[in-house]
């Protein structure tokens, strides 16, 4: 999709009646390092978690490397809208109105009703889905995720944490996975912890292991949700250093964080979220040097 590794299109997310995402669209290019900022509750985590379907978007589509991960959102595809009965009826009634206007009205008024749109519409939906859809488990295997609270598997050793998924998913043999894991552990200087259980590790060690656990899957992109927020201050540095190292090696990264320094140093692009939308997007220089929207200015005045 437009050369983006991850593409989010028209994403809406409701938790019951609460509207958390209000039509977010953004693209992440291969090799790009994107930092997401925003006040608490602005929907940063929700957007990030939609990218690997830990949350299911209510409307909208998520694409990974040209594959559709969500159901088809008909409103995002004109060729599907124009195949609908609603569109045809409106067109007949309006004797020759501009089709763009009709489509805009259908989108705006949410006029499509799956069950009543006829066979052609259904066929188009199905064909589009079949052509592009990728199973969520296959997609997730390509997207690493690092959580605020590490989420290492408590019942498994460090080495088992790292090899479980690649072996279980048959991406690697046990030997391959173990040698890769040991290689990664030696990169972070924790080979001696290979057989330790997570409860014996410090927060910084846990998070660095969580990061290399994801790397063991050879992901195409890594998502980070406030990876340093649960850490004691003296451990934040070691985790950020590892992330900088990944960035330098060319890993595609989307990082939700409050670490402004990290954003300045590492980000190619910063997204500022407010109220369920991306309110501003730009290079760190643009965002921190010349913020355009009022909410961003207010936000920066609080965090800087």
């Amino acid at each position: 999709m437009n050369g983006n590794l991850i593409e989010v299109r028209g994403l809406y997310k409701y938790f019951g009646k609460l509207q958390v995402l209000k039509g977010v669209s953004c693209g992440i290019k291969k090799g790009e390092r994107v930092v997401v900022l925003g006040a608490s509750g602005s929907g940063k985590s929700t957007m990030l978690r939609c990218m690997n379907l830990l949350e299911k978007p209510t409307y909208g589509e998520v694409w990974l490397d040209g594959n559709l991960l969500t159901p088809v959102d008909p409103y995002l595809h004109e060729e599907i809208i124009t195949a609908s009965r609603t569109y045809k009826k409106m067109q007949a009634a309006s004797n020759g109105a501009d089709s763009a206007e009709l489509i805009a009205e259908i989108k705006k008024e949410d006029l499509l009703h799956e069950k009543h749109e006829g066979a052609e519409y259904a066929r188009k939906m199905k064909a589009f889905f079949r052509e592009h859809y990728l199973d969520e488990n296959q997609a997730r295997a390509k997207v690493g995720m690092v959580f605020q609270h590490f989420n290492l598997f408590n019942n498994l050793t460090v080495l088992e944490n790292m090899t479980l998924a690649p072996v279980e998913l048959k991406l690697k043999t046990k030997e391959e996975a173990e040698s890769k894991a040991m290689e990664l552990l030696s990169m972070i200087g924790l080979t001696d912890k290979a057989n330790a259980y997570p409860s014996t590790l410090s927060g910084g060690q846990k998070q660095r292991i969580a990061i290399v656990r994801s790397l063991c899957m050879d992901p195409q992109v890594m998502l980070f949700d406030e990876p340093t927020s649960a850490l004691d201050p003296e451990m934040v540095g070691e985790v950020l250093d590892l992330m900088k190292r990944l960035a330098a090696e060319g890993m595609t990264m989307v990082v939700v964080t409050h670490e402004i320094g990290f954003a300045r140093e590492v980000a190619d692009r910063v997204l500022f979220m407010a109220d369920g939308l991306i309110a501003e997007s730009g290079t760190p220089d643009e965002i921190f040097g010349a913020p355009k929207c009022e909410r961003l200015r207010t936000f920066l005045s609080k965090v800087l």
Binding site: N52, L54, N137, Q138, A139, R140, A141, K142, V143, G144, M145, F147, H149, F150, N151, L152, F153, N154, N155, L156, L164, A165, E168, L169, Y197, S199, T200, A210, R213, S214, M217
Partner: protein, 235 residues
Amino acid sequence: MTFSEKIAKLWDLRGLFGESLGYSLLIAFGAVVLGFIIGVILAVIRIAPKTNPVIKALDKIAVLYITVIRGTPTLVQLLILYNSVLVWFKRMPTNLLVPIIAFGINSGAYMAEIIRSGISAVDVGQMEAGRSMGLSWLITMRRVIIPQAIKTVVPTIFNEIIILVKETSVVSYIVLKVNSIQKYDLLGMAEKQGLATPACYLVFLFFAALLYLTIVMLLTFLQHLIERRLKKNER
């Protein structure tokens, strides 16, 4: 009859009591294994996201099962199964499976609730981490969640096992057969021998009680051993 004569009588019967203890243990062991398997399966069904109609239907069945089994006396369940089996298979030279299945089905309902509570106590982040790496819900359950859940419910599971071991004494209400020969569980043997030698009845009952107590104490010991072992795994 003097007390020492009664003890001598008990000594004469030691082989029979030993054998009956064996049957009690066999039934309890079989029931625990079966109950545990049923419990895990039911708990997983109960906890599974209700995304498709098959799971929804299975969940309804699981709820019904748990409600009915927990809502009726074990002895009634045993008698119903025993008499149904009598109706369907008239000749059954060995029927040890009947109480094993009855107690297993019974225990499964309790185990299900215990294991379900253990699964709910596992941090949701564990499932999210598994899913985020592309593991399926079921694989994450099996490899990550259930092992952690079992660990937290070891004491409650053992409690259930202990109750079950003692509850197997109600099999003395049915006729146990092995190769067409009538056999007795521990309490059944005490009662049978008590009828034969009424003067010794109380001694036999106390002896049976002592054996149950010993088994329960051994189980408690095993529980502590397992708990300590599981704790060590974290260090």
